[in-house]
């Protein structure tokens, strides 16, 4: 074989083997911030809850936070978290028994911090109830048959040979910090599938992850509204809860619309009597 043919053969082997290595086995990436891992980091047995009455003092001060992930920078970005927490906050703000709502940055929560960390944060932000938003997102990556065209080099930029499947689960668990009791929870989930070229996969996948969080939160918000409305009714009948006035609250004597309407009825009766005389 001529020496030039050998060089070409070696070049092709090197290049094609590189391309072939692009068609690797399917992979997946997981980002998770688990509320169980955060609150019960070293639990080997189920936590023993003492049967006690949870005392609520409306208007309840609520803190809203994302559960910290296992490693720094995992999961949604801080800006994205703030935007999603804003949506959760607005769900709470439409209920009269909820007072102030604080957004707690993730940096204030320590991974696997447990209730001790939650107590510290609750004291720092002066909240009685904390809504913890946990997340679990898995990104599956597969290649399809078109990926073979990546061998053409140009195909790596044009052909959508990489598939992604982003499955997201978000969950808001609302805890009373004092009694450490779970008051209610509301879940939301989403699945986003798509394909991208090898060159554009990273960006597309990242956008899909952000969209996955958004869609899951969008699904969670109505569930959260339903739970909040249900909880408002439940505390009136459930013996495990006792609603008490907050010490040092401000009181108002207010006749409200019904009182004013009754006053007008009485005045109407009085005027009718005066006219008949």
């Amino acid at each position: 074989m001529h020496w030039s043919s050998r060089i070409i053969m070696l070049f092709l082997v090197a290049v094609l083997s590189g391309c072939a290595s692009m068609l690797g086995t399917p992979s997946s990436t997981k980002h998770a911030g688990s509320v169980v891992d955060y609150l019960y980091p070293d639990a080997k047995a189920a936590p023993q809850m003492q049967p006690e009455i949870t005392r609520l003092h409306p208007p309840v001060r609520v803190g809203v936070a994302f559960v910290p992930g296992g490693t720094y920078g995992e999961g949604p970005s801080e800006a994205e978290k703030a935007r999603l927490l804003g949506q959760v906050k607005s769900s709470f703000s439409s209920y009269g028994y909820i007072g102030s709502i604080e957004l707690i940055p993730s940096s204030y929560l320590r991974a696997r911090g447990g209730f001790e960390n939650l107590d510290q944060v609750a004291r720092m932000f002066n909240v009685e109830v904390v809504a913890l938003v946990s997340y679990d997102q898995i990104v599956f990556n597969d290649t399809n048959s078109l990926a073979v065209l990546y061998w053409t080099i140009v195909g790596a930029y044009v052909i959508h040979g990489d598939k992604y499947d982003v499955q997201t689960l978000v969950d808001t668990s609302v805890f009373d910090v004092g009694s450490r009791k779970l008051l209610f929870r509301a879940p939301g989930s989403s699945q986003i599938k798509g394909a991208a070229s090898m060159a554009g996969y990273s960006e597309r996948s990242r956008v899909a992850q952000g969209t996955g969080y958004q869609k899951a939160v969008d699904q969670m918000i109505p569930a959260l509204h339903a739970e909040l409305a249900g909880f408002k009714e439940r505390i009136k009948t459930d013996a495990a809860f006792k609603v008490e006035n907050k010490a040092g609250y401000s009181g108002a004597g207010d006749v409200e619309g019904l009182g004013l309407a009754i006053a007008l009825v009485l005045f109407g009766l009085f005027r009718a009597q005066a006219r008949s005389r």
Partner: protein, 224 residues
């Protein structure tokens, strides 16, 4: 067209309504200085009266002032301005003291609805007596208000702010105390006043109920 009678402007309930709306226009710091809190028992006794004139918002002030004005008109026409003014003057601090005793966790109180409930009870009593054919309507109106208060107390809606400022809760106890106070006024003060007038009439002193005159003439009678 009916001329404006200056006597109409001497109404105690009109004064309360105007003061309520006027104070709502002032800064919140003024209202804070007039609201009911523990300072009322620590050298600031005016708070026992003034708390019924200050409010948390325009809506709060207008609703309360409207109710006081409407119900006050009926009560004054039925019982007379002097009696209504006296009852309001004496009952206002008693309501405040009663609230501080009944709701010790409350740090501050504002609102004229206690006085409105007092006047409303007096108005219902007057109409009950003068309009026996409409007692069903009066019964329904009274039951509606009582049912609203009972629901608020039983279902804890009272601790939920209803369009008031953040953290301000409706105190249904003010209405309950006012209704109780009005009942006491109607049961005891009415007959007592009638008995006093009767005594004066017997002594031929019914033209004047001035204390000095009564005492002087009584001593004259005694000397005889």
């Amino acid at each position: 067209m009916r001329k404006l009678d200056l006597a109409d402007l001497r109404s105690p309930t009109l004064a309360i309504a105007v003061a309520s709306v006027g104070l709502a226009a002032l800064q919140d710091s003024v209202a804070s200085g007039l609201a009911l809190d523990r300072d009322a028992f620590a050298g600031e006794p005016w708070r026992l009266w003034s708390c019924h004139l200050v409010h948390y918002s325009w809506r709060h002030a207008l609703f309360d002032a409207g109710a006081v004005l409407i119900l006050g008109n009926v009560a004054e026409s039925s019982f007379g301005r002097k009696l209504v003014a006296t009852v309001l003057l004496l009952t206002a601090p008693l309501l405040s003291i009663g609230l501080m005793w009944w709701v010790p966790s409350m740090a501050e109180y504002r609102g004229a609805s206690g006085l409105a409930a007092l006047l409303g009870t007096m108005a219902v009593a007057a109409l009950w007596r003068s309009q026996p054919q409409r007692r069903v309507v009066l019964m329904c109106a009274s039951m509606l208000f009582v049912a609203k208060s009972v629901c608020a107390a039983m279902h804890r809606d009272s601790v939920i702010p209803l369009g008031l400022s953040q953290g301000v809760l409706v105190v249904w106890q003010a209405h309950a105390l006012a209704i109780g106070a009005a009942a006491l006024v109607l049961i005891f003060v009415g007959p007592a006043a009638a008995a006093f007038r009767l005594m004066c009439a017997q002594l031929r002193l019914c033209r004047s109920v001035d204390g000095t005159t009564v005492m002087a003439t009584s001593s004259k009678h005694a000397s005889r």
